[in-house]
């Protein structure tokens, strides 16, 4: 049974429809991603799940609860990390954790969270003195301190340096391994590809695709591209004769071979037979980024 169900969600601001009939269901224990360009309606969608906004149409259920009707119970079951939300400047890490854990019926042990999030040496530090990464980790700790069944994380790693981003990803996988279902909002392809079991791609308020990252990529096509520098001149016709090859191009001293299926094996076999060595060989596969462009007609960062 799904732990989060969103069915035909509609949300308007004035006469602008920001979310237009989005439906998806998140299974327990999943890391479910909502991916889309800025302004696509991702945050509004999760705000309806969090009960912060009232939908104009459709239905939302979290753990069998309607977020608008039983808000009190929802707050116990759902932990949220919001985009751009801060704490009072002079509140210390310890005070924030003690305060927030006092809000919940069965709080998690915040000391353990602090260890996992490597904030243990920052307990006495005031919020304003934390680095961006530390603030983000505290924000994750506060989202988890109530022992939630569902954690909603909005633009989790925005503004973090690459190392902090990777650390955060590891952490999210740990959290999932503890049995917390995670709804992740992101516009980072790499993050979606690395973390999410399934992805909902949203563009201009509509759901354009719902699949695993690999499924989304496969949906586009299985075209591959091989680049290499041949050690000796090679007749292109030898390659174009292969059924796997659709196109052979020359780019400077490199050859670019485009094709499908087991392209690499086919090409290297021909090369070996002709005693040509392929230097600087690279295989390029369709990435989630390509899939996104194909689905929405534009790059995600636009």
């Amino acid at each position: 049974m799904a732990i989060i169900e969103v069915d035909g969600l509609v949300k308007r601001y004035g006469d602008r429809t920001v979310v237009d009939g989005v439906s998806f269901a998140v299974e327990p224990g999943e890391i479910f991603g909502i991916l889309g360009p800025n302004g696509a309606g991702k945050t509004t969608t999760v705000e309806c799940v969090e009960g912060l906004r009232t939908p104009d149409g459709g239905a939302v259920q979290v753990c069998g609860i309607n977020p608008r009707h039983d808000t009190g119970e929802l707050r116990q079951l759902l932990g949220a990390q919001l985009q751009e939300s801060e704490l009072p400047d002079k509140l210390t890490v310890r005070e924030a954790l003690e305060l927030f854990s006092s809000f919940y019926r069965e709080p998690a042990d915040w000391r353990e969270l602090v260890d996992t999030l490597r904030l243990d040496d920052k307990l006495g530090t005031q919020f304003r003195r934390l680095s961006g990464g530390q603030k983000q980790r505290l924000s994750i700790a506060l989202a988890l301190v109530g022992n939630p069944r569902v954690a909603v994380l909005d633009e989790l790693t925005t503004g973090l340096d690459p190392q902090a981003r990777r650390d955060t990803w590891d952490l999210i996988e740990d959290v999932r391994d503890r049995g917390v279902t995670i709804l992740l909002v992101t516009h980072f392809m790499e993050e979606a590809e690395r973390l999410c079991d399934r992805l909902a791609v949203i563009d201009s308020g509509r759901l354009v695709a719902l699949d695993t990252p690999a499924g989304l990529v496969a949906r586009i096509d299985d075209r591959q591209r091989i680049r290499f520098r041949p050690s000796a001149p090679l007749d292109h016709a030898l390659l174009t004769a292969l059924p796997e090859v659709t196109l052979v191009e020359r780019a400077g001293n490199q050859l670019v071979v485009t094709g499908t299926g087991n392209l690499l094996l086919a090409v290297t076999t021909v090369l070996a037979r002709n005693q040509v060595v392929a230097a600087d060989l690279r295989v390029e596969q369709t990435s989630l980024e390509d899939a996104f462009v194909a689905l929405t007609g534009r790059p995600v960062e636009a």
Partner: protein
Amino acid sequence: MSTLSRLTVTETRLFFREPMIVFFALAFPPILLAIFGAIPSFREPDQSLGGLRVIDLYVPIVVAMSLAMFALNSLSQLFASYREKGVLRRMRTTPVKPAMMLGAQLLMSTILSVLTMAVVLAVGRLAFDVRLPGQPAAYLLGYLLAALAMFAIGLLVASLAPSGKSATAVGTVLFFPIVFFAGLWLPRDNMNDVLRTISDLTPLGAGVQALQDATAGHWPQPLHLAVMLGWTIVAGGLAARYFRWE
């Protein structure tokens, strides 16, 4: 410990980490009273004041001023900046209702301002022999109504101001006329009829008169109670109407 008391304790800790706000809200009123008391002529009984001394008039004025400081300096600025920074929004995702945050702030402001009032009364009594309220129940009633009216105005400022900084600016602009009509520069007894009539209709003009009446052993006049209640209802209603958690 209940959530409300834990929030109040946390808010109070944060309050004491802001030295400027602490100084103006807690220390400044007794210091100001001490300075007024140091002026010799303020300690002379004045026939035109019915035998009272100027320092006698200033005790309720300083008490009222400290309420204005809490409401227009600390409360409005704190709340507007919490909203600006998304603290209130963050709270909304927890089991704590944001109204509880408001409750904690009001509770803290009330406790601390009652404390300041007690210190001001004590300084007046011990240093300058100002009599304590003859009618303590009436004094407390007047004080509470004045506090309610001022906190409602402070929350209205917090509701309308787009940011913590603008709340501070608006609060400061409102502070001066409000304490002027409370009599900070010219005690009500020295005001002309026009000024005093206006003062009667302001929250702290009415408040100061109610405190002064209670000090003299009388119950406050219905007009002043009604004025304070009116400000509470109108400002509080508007604050509730325009309040935004984010």
